[in-house]
């Protein structure tokens, strides 16, 4: 068995989710190869070669792969993937965009967002917003799988010494082109990788009030998230959304402030080790999953908490 892992990167550095994906590949067993497709990705390939457990790094350096357009990257992955037993990618917006296209090209069903490896062909994944866990078996010749990063502890970023091999295949479907992007800037840790996450909901009342959460987060070295209600109300940008349709996080500590705890929100954070809820409504469903609940006005409790930690 040889497993192909699609590296998640921005042409400059390997994203942490790649380390969790390699961890899932190691659990399946067999040689692990990593594909780095992009443009000017020398540094990414070098970093990928150092990841513990990786046997080989394939590098496809071509202008057509610059922005990971699925129309160009998927045919490359499908072509290379034919000789592998498994193709894995992180369940990031990129992985979710590309991998189903690969699966269809190979005429196999995909398994999305696995949270555990039972055996080389059997995996567990959440369905119905995490309210049920399905055990799925694949008898496909090539198993195409996306990996939920929070389900696997990352492998070490150093210690490996994989061979790096260039791939010459170029695919430019000419169906799509990159126009531009607008990335939210933040000095705080990345939401999906943070050890502590502080999230605000509708109870924050407006965007300015999120400053209370930023102050607390900076004191704790935490990332700041939000519920869909807070995003839809325009308090914060949508890439801060935690939930079924946003990001899935599983930090050591999740502090939910002014969040009622709808099913869709819980789907994104209920695997956190410790959950704290601060809400003035003691009937809020969030208290059913919180390890520590505080029924209080957040505008008094959060500044006090910032002072005390």
């Amino acid at each position: 068995m040889t497993i192909l892992v699609i590296a998640e990167h921005d042409n400059k550095a390997v994203a942490p989710a790649t380390l969790n994906t390699v961890a899932a590949a190691v659990k399946i067993g067999g040689d692990v190869h990593v594909l780095v497709a992009g443009v000017g990705v020398g540094a990414v390939a070098e970093a990928a070669a150092k990841i513990a457990g990786v046997a080989k790094v394939l590098v496809a350096d071509n202008a057509a792969y610059a922005h990971q357009l699925p129309e160009n990257v998927a045919p490359l992955v499908a072509e290379l993937g034919k000789s592998y037993s498994h193709i894995l990618a992180a369940a990031t917006s990129n992985g979710k965009n590309i991998l189903p296209r690969v699966a269809a090209a190979l005429d196999v069903d995909q398994i999305s967002e696995i949270i555990s490896v039972e055996s080389a062909d059997t995996f567990k994944r959440p369905i119905y917003a995490g309210n049920a866990i399905a055990t799925v078996q694949s008898n496909a010749a090539v198993k195409v799988i996306t990996v939920r990063a929070t389900g696997f502890d990352p492998v070490a970023a150093d210690g490996g010494s994989a061979a790096v091999e260039a791939v010459s295949a170029a695919h430019d479907a000419g169906l799509s082109s990159f126009v531009g992007e607008e990335l939210a800037k933040s000095d705080r840790p990345e939401l999906t990788a943070a050890k502590i996450v502080v999230s605000g909901g509708r109870g924050m009342q407006n965007g300015d009030n999120f400053k209370h959460l930023y102050e607390l987060a900076d004191k704790l070295g935490a990332a700041v998230g939000a519920s869909r209600a807070a995003v839809d109300a325009g308090f914060v940008p949508n890439d801060m959304q935690v939930g079924q349709t946003g990001k899935i996080v599983a930090p050591q500590l999740y502090i939910a402030v002014g969040i009622s705890g709808a099913i869709q929100h819980l789907a994104g954070m209920k695997d956190s080790k410790v959950i704290v809820a601060i809400n003035k409504d003691e009937e809020a469903p969030i208290f059913q999953v919180a390890d520590y609940g505080l029924v209080a006005d957040l505008f008094e409790a959060v500044p006090e908490l910032t002072k005390l930690v």
């Binding site: 979710k96 269809a104 995909q110 999305s112 119905y128 079924q244 520590y292 209080a296």
Partner: protein, 249 residues
């Protein structure tokens, strides 16, 4: 231009589902079913394109049991012109659905196909991408903005770090994200009118598509329950617990 919209009948998003005692699946007997929320957004976007004069006809398609006609009628009441049901009683995988949709796309030749980004039951997030691959079209997934200009469509997509805009040649596939629009409600007169709109029923066999799957669900379980927590009285007590009991700060 013609726009095709795919909709799915799923358990209503407000329902707290229960796993069956024999672990064969989720209990859907006597549970409220609705149109998948992302599909509602897809229908709304198509109707808005028609209102802008970009789209000339909206065809809505669903693949599933005969009861999915209810969701098709809802889409017709929202502004779709006609409906197609590909009737299949079995639980189909995303790839099988994508293959059936490809057959419908071949038949209807739409310029744009709009789907939801994921169904809230299987949480797969695959069908749109698979349909794009099978049709050989470009894909604009997780769309928060769609602008058709001539023979291209500009799609602004929600990505992990923010937003990205891509330009796709038509025909193309777009999958909707939550922030694309706010779906309207169907008015009573429109619900009545929708009953008279055409609804064609097809079968996978008639479309010549095999729905065989390479995946098998062995069992479905309830997730591990979290042990009950405690309520603290003050912020000071909370900090004390986090430091000394949970040891997370």
């Amino acid at each position: 231009m013609k726009v095709l919209v795919a909709v799915k009948r799923v358990v209503d998003y407000n329902v707290k589902v229960r796993v069956k005692a024999d672990n064969s699946g989720v209990d859907l007997a006597n549970v409220k079913m609705s149109m998948n929320p992302f599909c509602e957004i897809a229908v709304e976007e198509a109707v808005r394109l028609k209102e802008k004069g970009v789209a000339t006809e909206i065809v809505v398609v669903s693949i599933g049991p005969s009861t999915a006609q209810e969701q098709l009628r809802t889409a017709l009441a929202l502004g779709a012109d006609r409906a197609i049901l590909v009737e299949s009683a079995e639980d189909l995988t995303s790839l099988a659905v994508a293959k059936l949709l490809k057959a419908v796309v071949d038949k209807e030749q739409p310029s744009l196909v709009i789907l939801g980004k994921q169904a809230i039951d299987s949480d797969n997030n695959q069908t749109g991408q698979m349909l794009a691959a099978l049709s050989g079209y470009g894909q604009g997934t997780f769309a928060s903005k769609v602008e058709v200009a001539g023979d291209t469509v500009a799609v602004t997509r929600e990505i992990d770090g923010g937003a990205q805009t891509v330009s796709l040649k038509l025909p193309a596939i777009v999958t909707t994200d939550l922030r694309l629009n706010e779906p309207r409600y169907a008015s009573l007169p429109n619900i009545m009118k929708a009953k008279k709109k055409p609804l064609e029923v097809l079968t996978p066999d008639a479309l010549g598509v095999s729905t065989a799957s390479t995946n098998k669900t062995l069992k479905v379980e309830a997730p591990a329950a979290r042990s009950a927590g405690i309520k603290v009285k003050s912020v000071a007590e909370l900090v004390e617990k986090l430091k000394n009991e949970a040891k997370v700060i």
